[in-house]
Symmetry: C2
Subunit: 439 residues, 2 copies
């Protein structure tokens, strides 16, 4: 039998070069979160199906998920998102110090057709603030997002943080006399607005929302791109949610988050959002899928029988973020090809091997990454390996080096050779950084 | 419905404190691998069941695994180990530069009864060298293991790297006239040697291996703890595998790996090992499960119809390693309680919030991790939060600070207060490190 050489469609397989790009992104996400005091946690990939049925709804938990029954008869799901597990973990922790500020890098699973920016197995970055009712939590989450994009060299014109308020939308739809069920239906339709053409979407609204006045309201509301829009000010002015969104706009301005933009049509797909909702989008429109989506949720842990805990959080797709960075040429050149070794030690013959191995160990003790020949091939073949791996420095360990204890280090890009004692090697390799050479 | 607050039994759920301990370990594993030029890669959790049936055998792939049929009728498995996926990936990559030196941190799944050191969902550290036939590859892998244990402050007396040779064992069993099937059976029995009591094991050998002379051979062979043991020297002396193991012992000595010890009974459980096999064990015997197991495999990618690629590699369980470190008190105090924030900014009232938020942002730009109050509670409640989170420094932003631009930083452990300009804050926080204060 010949086995397939391909991973399953939509699965996450990364060569070292691809992994270095992902690590470049992960590092910046982690540093951005830590700058605000967020702490990392982890939850299982395998969860009881019930947890997601209760939290994520049928569509996500059943239709779009990998779920199965295990050997012990348990109905399991491979998590399609993280939030229900976070809620469970918070409910189980008696001793948490609020505000809880947590982040995680879950790998999640959805049984959907793989497309650009959408895989069946994907890594997310999740970040949540729990236990704070005020907009200060939303503001901090927006600051984290801005810092993430900044640290990845994205400029404000390339992306936008679009936000709205589910409460504001609910208020307006309620004031038309729409029932809770009709409002949920309306949200589902609004969520499709940017995914299809404008006229197709309007048709969909009128088809889904039978009452013409209600359909008009939805169309008028979702076209507002400013809390001051006359239609909106008239429809909602003075209401609690309206006052909140105007205040939030002011806070964003004070904090210098000019990338944030009110868009009434933002509602986000997940059922548990109740307040401010937001998403990060490519402003150029090349990447249509949100880089990040989030919002405020109330009472996320209530289902576990605990006290009420509100929160604000987001999930950010590493794949959509990477596509965005690629689009704007923001992935630094040479990351994927950068080999970890600082120096390659070529070994002249087996006679010098013990000396060379012990030298390599000493250098590693000094924090130098050393790749030493282990093939036993001739020197020219060893040089070829070092060259193909793009290792910046090379040194040959032969009889002379063993006898004298002096090593000649060759800089592979400039061709410069430097002879030194063994103890001087780390300094030479460190100097390359000071001189701004390849690292 | 009230949902369960517990994750499924045997699943991996880590609070921030637990995650910090895991991160402490992961970082040292990663640094040790990188010191030798190993590069990180990733493969999917979900794989075709066929791949593991072919590589890992029925026991692991069917009985001890989570496997199911997806909505598209595909028979899938949640990987119980990494190596088959590595083999597939290598077979698919046309352009690899040998020797390939790769490492990964896969989360793996086994449907087994959870016990001390054994979970159903667990993270491994895998490290492999591909494309090198000589023992120089084995030696490098042993050096990595020694460096890992060193970097975790384990002393040589606390652990042992036990090794043997499957080829040597095979030669000896073949020379008794045992068939391939009987040898496989013998390996399975030998693998149980350290898992049950000596007399129970001997009974098991005699029950499984019907031929008395063959059973005697197995018992004599597996009692050898030195290649020079008279029984072994007589039984195998001069054979290819015997010469190899003696040579390897010399190489280990030359490289100063005194923690390595020959134990003929080491065979490791996985079918694909063909040469040197090894494991890292707690020498104190408190942790009976191997911290790490590995060996040489030939022709791992042959099943994909590609050219022959040999390799040496290991899988190291992070859970067993953590238990070992705990046993010897090697997890540094305070890691789990260490909050990421360097300083807590208390906000006197909403009047100072914009100033405080912008100050926090400036500090973060300098690389300082800042937790700022977002609760709007009174100062004494804010202090309590900072204290409970064990944040080392605190500063209050009130009307005076806003007016003067001068901030007073309080060191929470010493009680010392320092007043400075905003631009001086990072220096004060950096000095704490120079002085060896809490970090």
């Amino acid at each position: 039998m010949t086995l397939s050489r391909k991973p399953l469609k939509g699965m996450r397989e990364l060569t070292p070069g691809e992994k270095r790009i992902e690590d470049y992104i992960i590092k910046r996400l982690r540093v951005a979160g830590a700058a605000y005091g967020f702490e990392e946690y982890e939850t299982p990939v395998l969860e009881p199906l019930d947890l997601f049925l209760a939290k994520s709804g049928n569509e996500l938990a059943v239709k779009q998920s990998y779920n199965f029954t295990d050997k012990g008869g348990r109905k399991l799901i491979m998590r399609p998102e993280l939030t229900p597990s976070l809620a469970r973990m918070v409910a189980a922790s008696g001793e948490l110090i609020y505000p809880v500020k947590w982040m995680s890098f879950p790998v999640c699973y959805r049984y959907e057709k793989p497309q650009r920016g959408r895989a069946r197995e994907f890594m997310q970055f999740n970040l949540d603030i729990l236990g704070v009712d005020g907009l200060e939590a939303e503001l901090e989450v927006f600051l984290v997002l801005k810092r993430i994009m900044n640290s990845l060299n994205a400029s404000p014109g390339q992306y936008v943080i679009r936000y709205s308020s589910r409460r504001l939308a609910s208020e307006i739809l309620e004031s038309c006399g729409m029932t809770e069920e009709e409002i949920a239906q309306a949200f589902a339709v609004i969520d499709k607005k940017d995914k299809i053409k404008p006229d197709e979407w309007e048709e969909l609204v009128r088809k889904t929302i039978k009452d013409e006045r209600n359909a008009d309201t939805i169309i008028s509301f979702t076209s507002c791109s400013d809390p001051d829009a006359p239609w909106l000010a008239e429809a909602a002015g003075g209401s609690k949610a309206y006052v909140e969104i105007v205040r939030f706009r002011g806070m964003l301005k004070d904090a210098g988050i000019l990338e944030a933009q009110f868009e009434a049509c933002v509602v986000r797909g997940l059922d548990y959002y109740t307040g401010i909702v937001f998403e990060v989008m490519d402003s150029g429109g090349i990447n249509r899928r949100a880089i990040c989506g989030g919002g405020r949720y109330d009472n996320l842990v209530g289902m576990f029988g605990g006290q009420k805990v509100t929160g604000v959080g987001f999930g950010l797709g590493l794949l959509t973020l990477e596509l965005f960075l690629e689009t704007y040429g923001l992935i630094p050149d040479g990351i994927s090809g950068k080999h970890p070794a600082d120096i390659f030690l070529a070994v002249y013959s087996d006679e010098e091997r013990t000396f060379a191995v012990n030298l390599a160990e000493k250098l590693r003790d000094f924090g130098v990454s050393v790749e030493i020949d282990i093939t036993g091939k001739n020197l020219s073949k060893q040089f070829k390996i070092a060259d193909r791996k793009s290792i910046g420095y090379i040194a040959v360990i032969g009889p002379e080096e063993v006898a004298s204890g002096r090593i000649t280090i060759k800089n592979m890009s400039s061709g410069t050779k430097t002879e030194c004692e063994i103890s001087g090697i780390p300094q030479i390799l460190a100097d390359k950084n000071l001189c701004g050479e390849a690292n």
